[in-house]
Each structure stands twice: as C-alpha cells, then as structure tokens.
C-alpha cells in the first residue's frame, strides 16, 4: 500500500491489537484472523483472543474497579467527555473504518461517528445525576435516617452488538462505565476494527488502565469463559445472538446480573437510564436519629 498523496512513499499500516489493562498486547495465543469489508475485501488482521486473554482482561478490570468506582462522579463524567473529544479528533479514521465495515456511504458513516461521539457526551452528563435520579431518602416509619443510593455492580462482561460496530458498541459501553463499573468487552466478531480504534482513543482519554478492556476474536470462544467467570458480576448479552440462552445459564452459577438481548435502537439519542440501571446495585443505609 502506498501513501495516497505521495505515490513514492510506503504508508505505515496499523496493527490491530487487544486493549488490556491499558496496554495493547497481541493475543497471548499468538493468533490473528483476517477482517474483511462489507464488500469482501481484506482490511487487516485482528488479534484472535483466547480464553486466557479473557481471564487476563477480567483481572485487569477487577484491579481497576476500586479506583474507578471510587472517583467522583464529576471526574468520571469529565473523562467520558474527554473520550468524545478524542473521538472527534479521529473522526476521519472512524468514518473510513465504519464505511468499509458496514458497507455504508461516507456520509452515512460520518453520521454514525457523530452519533457515537454524541453518545459519550450524553452519558458523560449522566455520571453525576444517577444518584439523585435512582436514589433518595426513604420515609420509614420510625426515627431513622434511611437513604438508598445506586452503586456500580462491579466487573461487567459486554458482548458488543454484531451489526453496529461503532455506534452500537459505544451505546453499550458508555452506560456501563459512567456509573463506575469496569468492563471486559468482546467486539463484533466480523467488524472488530472500530473497537480497536476506539481503544486507541480511550487510551489517550485519561481513562485509567483496565477500566475498559477490549477483546477481538470469536464470540463462541470468548463468551463462555466470560459468562462463567466467577469474578464477573454482570453480563450484557446484547451481541450474544444464538448463544444467549446458554450464556445466561452459565451466568446463573454465580448469579450474575444479565441484560438479555433485546430490540435496540441505537439511533435514539436519549436512551435515559435504562441501560445504566441494569448494572447498578441499590444500597440502603440506616442510622438512628436521636439527640
């Protein structure tokens, strides 16, 4: 491949790697798989992650959880906004990849990228409002201070939507981390490149290492160890397809919270708290009142 503006220069190609604990390793298995465009042209090779990569990603996500959930919501919101800033700076790259992967026009791809960027801005604003919207004082019948507030569930495994590799991915990832969860995300198997590009934006957004971990590879290989992992607290099965029932059954062993695949409309610019609340726990604190 040559540089478009200089036929004599050999362009520098990107290597699409995993995003794990803030670093960009290849799969520990040393494998990769070819990724093709909607028209069937070879685009790049992506890392073919293994079960061991899943376990490493869960370790990274667990390690990042106390720090991320312990930050102020204000700070988390600013970091999500920073992700939008970083995406905006790379929008040409995202648009080009989306057009190739999804087989849509450049204008349509641009619109998808804009929507994905705006989704980060949307969820950035939610970070410090969830507590008031979903928590509050409880009027118990007695002399007690009684207060409920939402807390993040913990480590969330996400199977990103198969057919919306950028906007859909952002739409499932942002609500999970805005509330303070950390994530292990399995990208769309056939369209993984935008996920890796997003990881490159995340890595330069002040997002602490391990808050988001992104794996590319075979859903059938990566989803079962994620669903069965005892240190994963919740599972978003949006992109699980036919695997969903078996994965839900595996998740039952450690009573993970499960978001089942449903009809999703990624174009809805105001999805509200519906996805955020699925990965929260309500904690209620009592204290006596008295002089």
């Amino acid at each position: 491949m040559t540089d478009k503006t200089d036929p004599l220069r050999v362009a520098v190609r990107r290597t699409y790697k995993l995003y794990l604990g803030g670093a960009f390793p290849r799969s520990e298995s040393g494998r990769s798989y070819p990724v093709t465009s909607a028209k069937g042209l070879h685009l790049a090779n992506a890392a073919l992650a293994s079960r061991k990569d899943v376990r490493d990603a869960v370790v990274a996500a667990r390690k990042a959880f106390p720090g991320w959930s312990g930050r102020t919501a204000y700070n988390r919101g600013q970091i999500l906004y920073r992700i939008a800033e970083m995406m905006e700076g790379r929008r040409a790259q995202f648009a080009e990849e989306s057009a190739a992967a999804e087989g849509v026009s450049r204008a349509r791809a641009e619109a998808l990228v804009s929507a994905a960027i705006d989704r980060w801005v949307y969820y950035a604003g939610w970070a410090d409002k969830i507590g008031q919207v979903l928590g509050g004082a409880n009027q118990v019948s007695g002399p007690f201070f009684n207060h409920s507030e939402p807390e993040p569930t913990g480590v969330v495994g996400i199977l990103a939507p198969a057919d919306s590799p950028l906007l859909g991915l952002v739409s499932v990832l942002a609500p999970v981390i805005t509330a303070g969860n950390t994530a292990v995300l399995v990208a769309s198997e056939h369209h993984p490149l935008s996920a890796v590009t997003l990881a490159e934006a995340l890595a330069t957004s002040d997002l602490p290492p391990g808050v988001v971990n992104i794996l590319t590879g075979r859903l059938s290989e990566l989803a079962p160890p994620l669903a069965g992992h005892a240190d994963v607290n919740a599972l978003d099965l949006t992109g699980a397809g036919d695997h969903a029932p078996a994965l839900e059954e595996a998740a039952a062993t450690t009573l993970k919270r499960v978001l089942r695949p449903g009809p999703d409309d990624w174009t809805d610019a105001d999805p509200g708290v519906s996805r955020i609340r699925r990965f929260l726990e309500i904690k209620t604190v009592w204290h006596p009142v008295g002089s």
């Binding site: 919207v133 979903l134 509050g136 409880n138 009027q139 118990v140 019948s141 007695g142 007690f144 009684n146 409920s148 569930t153 607290n233 969903a244 029932p245 078996a246 839900e248 059954e249 998740a251 039952a252 062993t253 450690t254 009573l255 919270r257 089942r260 726990e281 309500i282 904690k283 209620t284 604190v285 009592w286 204290h287 006596p288």
Partner: protein, 475 residues
C-alpha cells in the same frame, strides 16, 4: 437474674382446621394430587394440620386462573380500585393481627413478641404502602405508563412466612399483576389464613392463588410456562437452580437469597448499644434471617471487654415456649434445620474455633438450639463462610478499618452489614465500602416497606420495598 412467671398468649384465638385444600380462583379446592403434608408445631412436635401438596395439574389450574384474572379483571382495573383492595387486605390483617401472630408462632416456632410486634404489623404495612402506589405508578420513574408483567410465580421461605408473603404479593398486586404463590413446606398456615383474608376482602377470584407443597411443587411453580415473572426468596443454592431454569425463557426473575452479614464494631462504638445490636443481629428470629449479622467483626482493642458484656447479655436471653410473651428465643423451625445448625456448629469446633453457650434449660420436646458464640474463628472456617441460619455467632477481630472492610467483603454473599461507631465520617466511609445491599449503622435488623431490601453478588438481585421494589413487577 429475675424469675419470670409463665405469660403465655392464649392459642384459643386461632382455630386451625384439621385439613386444608389449595386456594385457586378464589376458592379452596381439593388438590388433584393425593400427596399431603403434615405441618407441625416445632416447639412441641405436635401436628397442627394437614395440607395438600400441589401437583402439576394443580399448578396448571392455578396459572389458568391467574392468567384469566390478569387479563379480564385485575390489569384492566383502574389503579385506584386495585389500591382499595390492598387497603382492605391491610385492614383485615390489622383486625386479625393477634390471631395471625399466634398462628405464625405455632407454625413457625418464633416468639410471639416478634410475630406480634414485627411480622404481622410489617405485613399490614406492606399492603398499605403498596396500596398507595397502585394509582401512582406513572410517577415511580419507570416511564409514563408502566405496564404489569403478567402472572408472577412466587416462592417464599419459612423464616417470615406471612411477612415474605406480603413482600411478594403486595407489590405484585399494586402494579396490576396476578400471582401464584407457594408458601414453605413447614409454614403453610398463615398463607392459608391469608387466602381467607382475600375471600373476606372480596378480592376478585384468581388474583391470588396459593399452592401449598414442598420442593416439587416449588419447582413446578417457578418452571411453569405461563409464568411471566419468577420471584424467589430462599437459599442461594435453590436460587442458582431457578436462575438456570429461567435462562433462555425470557421470564423476569428476582432473587433474594442467603447472606453472611458482617457486623463491624469499632473501638469507639457505644458498647452497650452495640451489644444490643449484636444480639438482635444474630438472635432475632433464632438467627433464621438471611440478613443476620452472623459474623461479628470487633476491633481487637475492645474485643475482650465487648465479649464479656455480650456473654452476660446472652445469659439473660430466655429460650422456650414461643407463645410466652417473655420468650426471646423460640424453637428452630424444623428437624432438618436443627440438623444443619448442629452440623455447622460441630464443624466450628472441629476446625478449631471454640463455642460458648449460656446455661439455659432446653425444653424436652421440640427443636431447640441454644444461643451460641464462637471465638477463635478464622476466615477459612466453615462457620465464617457458610450461612448457618441459626442462633450461632462467629467472632473475628480486626485492627484497622481497611482490615474490617476487607474481611466483611470477603464472602460471595452481599446482603447486609452493620457498622458500630460514634464517628460519622468513619460510619459513612465504612458503609460506602461494604458490598452489601443493606447497611445498618448503630442499629440492626430494621425493616420497613418504604426501604428497599436486597443483595449484592450471590445474595441475589432485585429489590423489595420502596420505589425500587416496583421495578420487578413493571414492564
């Protein structure tokens, strides 16, 4: 120590029938299954009544009735009218409060002062609280016109039979759902009394259906294809089984499961209050409480003094006749549960912890276990890890707040926790780090219908009570 004269509540206020049928479609109907269960009084092992064990055909019949009631009567009924039925039910529970309290004590073995002052008033309060929601659901934060889910399959435990029934039925009915509920095998009688209350309230037939039975009935209820929602309170083991069975069916599920609650006492705690809280945390309801404070984490510097006070206090607990108004500790609910408590207590000794119980006379008949405190417990011991569901406290110590929190969270459960300190900032710091759904600070085992209850991690998911509890029954 004072001697007390016996002060038994009269059991003449209840009339228990020798035999009960199933409550389906507003009527008591004979079960198609021939299997019967005898429910006994755990305080004297005398049989109280015989009840049906519903089979699959009975479960089918109940779901048919519930579906019909859902579609034709209950979900179309305006919320304000649904609410009035719930208010009616609450009023009848209040009117029959003493009868229900005695009946519950007889069937369950718990002290009358608890059924009279906690179980029954709270059950009525749950219906009153949810009655008020029935016509205000659009304001509950689940969208402008939330819809009921449909028919709810509900299975409840034996530790708070009527109260758990109220926790399940009140929110389901307020939100427009109909229910098929199975009470526990060993405590069916207050649920059957509740069926009579539904008749007395003229609740439309089929809105509430009550199927008595054991595990087989429970499995048939939660696996029924016409259930839109499953709600279960009970052990984590059974909860897992239900979650597996529900997987792939699209049915909604909420689970309120086991716990191994930590009760943290810092060195600056008000010690006498903390002692009272530790006692109510583990000996309330004989420790048959999923959110019991079964692990006492006491700061090392005050451990000796606190334990001395605790032993003195426990020595004054009165164990015996559940119907006696002075009884603090009643009977263990069943022979099977007593075996489990004995087995775990023996494991505590075998693994190197040392148990202590006050010298207290144990009645000759019935199922009893004295209040017991284990010291020298490590985190690896079974009595520090497994839910005992009995009056057995495991004591561990800590030196720093970080260590207290780490030990408290070192469990797959996450239902409840307690914090005792006079320092507000330390209380809030600790509460925010505990991975548990309910944190009681300077108090323990308080419940209220307005206060959401439910677990983190393997203690289950979903909340019961408060605005949050409505979510489980709304689409």
């Amino acid at each position: 120590m004072f001697e007390y004269a016996p002060a038994p509540e009269s059991r003449s206020i209840v009339s228990i029938r020798p035999s009960y049928d199933l409550f389906i479609d507003g009527e008591f109907v004979e079960a198609k299954s021939d299997e019967r269960i005898v429910t006994i009084n755990p305080a004297d092992e005398e049989p109280l009544a015989e009840v049906a064990a519903a089979g699959e055909a009975d479960v089918d019949r109940a779901f048919t009735a519930a579906r019909r009631a859902f579609e034709r009567v209950w979900s179309p009924l305006p919320g304000a009218e649904r609410g009035k039925y719930l208010f009616r039910i609450a009023r009848i529970i209040q009117e029959r409060a003493r009868e229900l309290a005695v009946l519950e004590s007889l069937d369950n073995g718990k002290p009358i002062k608890e059924t009279r002052d906690v179980d029954v008033p709270l059950a009525a309060a749950h219906f009153i609280y949810h009655a008020g929601w029935a016509d205000k659901l659009a304001h509950a934060g689940f969208g402008p016109s939330p819809r009921p889910v449909g028919v709810a399959a509900q299975v409840i435990p034996w530790n708070f039979p009527l109260l758990m029934l109220a926790w399940k039925i009140a929110p389901a009915l307020a939100t427009g759902n109909t229910v098929v509920l199975k009470p526990a095998e060993t405590t069916p009688l207050t649920a059957l009394a509740f069926a009579e209350i539904c008749q007395e309230a003229e609740l439309p037939p089929g809105v509430v259906n009550i199927l008595t039975g054991a595990g087989g009935t429970g499995r048939a209820v939660v696996a029924h294809p016409d259930a839109d929602k499953v709600a279960f309170t009970g052990s984590t083991e059974v909860g897992r089984e239900i979650a597996r069975a529900v997987a792939g069916t699209g049915r909604r599920l909420t689970l309120e499961l086991g716990g191994k609650g930590a009760n943290i006492v810092y060195d600056d705690a008000a010690m006498d209050q903390a002692v009272e809280g530790i006692v109510s945390g583990i000996f309330f309801n004989q420790g048959h409480v999923c959110c019991a404070g079964s692990r006492l984490l006491v700061q090392e510097s005050i451990a000796e003094e606190l334990l001395a006070k605790l032993r003195t206090r426990i020595s004054r607990l009165r164990l015996g006749d559940p119907l006696d108004k002075n009884t603090d500790i009643g009977a263990i609910n069943s022979a099977a549960q007593l075996d489990r408590i004995r087995e775990l207590a023996a494991a505590g000794e075998a693994e190197g912890a040392s148990g202590w119980s006050p010298a207290c006379p144990i009645p000759e008949r019935g199922y009893w276990f004295p209040p017991t405190v284990f010291t020298g417990v490590t985190q690896a011991h079974r009595i520090a890890r497994e839910e005992i569901f009995g009056p057995v406290l495991s004591v561990l110590t800590f030196r720093t707040p970080e260590e207290a929190v780490a030990k408290a969270n070192n469990t797959p459960y996450g239902l409840s926790a307690g914090v005792w300190t006079e320092k507000g900032s330390r209380m809030l710091w600790t509460a925010s780090r505990l991975r548990a759904g309910v944190v009681w600070s300077n108090t323990f085992n308080m419940f209220d219908p307005a206060s959401p209850f439910g677990g983190y991690k393997e203690s289950g998911y979903g909340r019961e009570g408060g605005r949050h509890g409505l979510e489980a029954y709304l689409d």
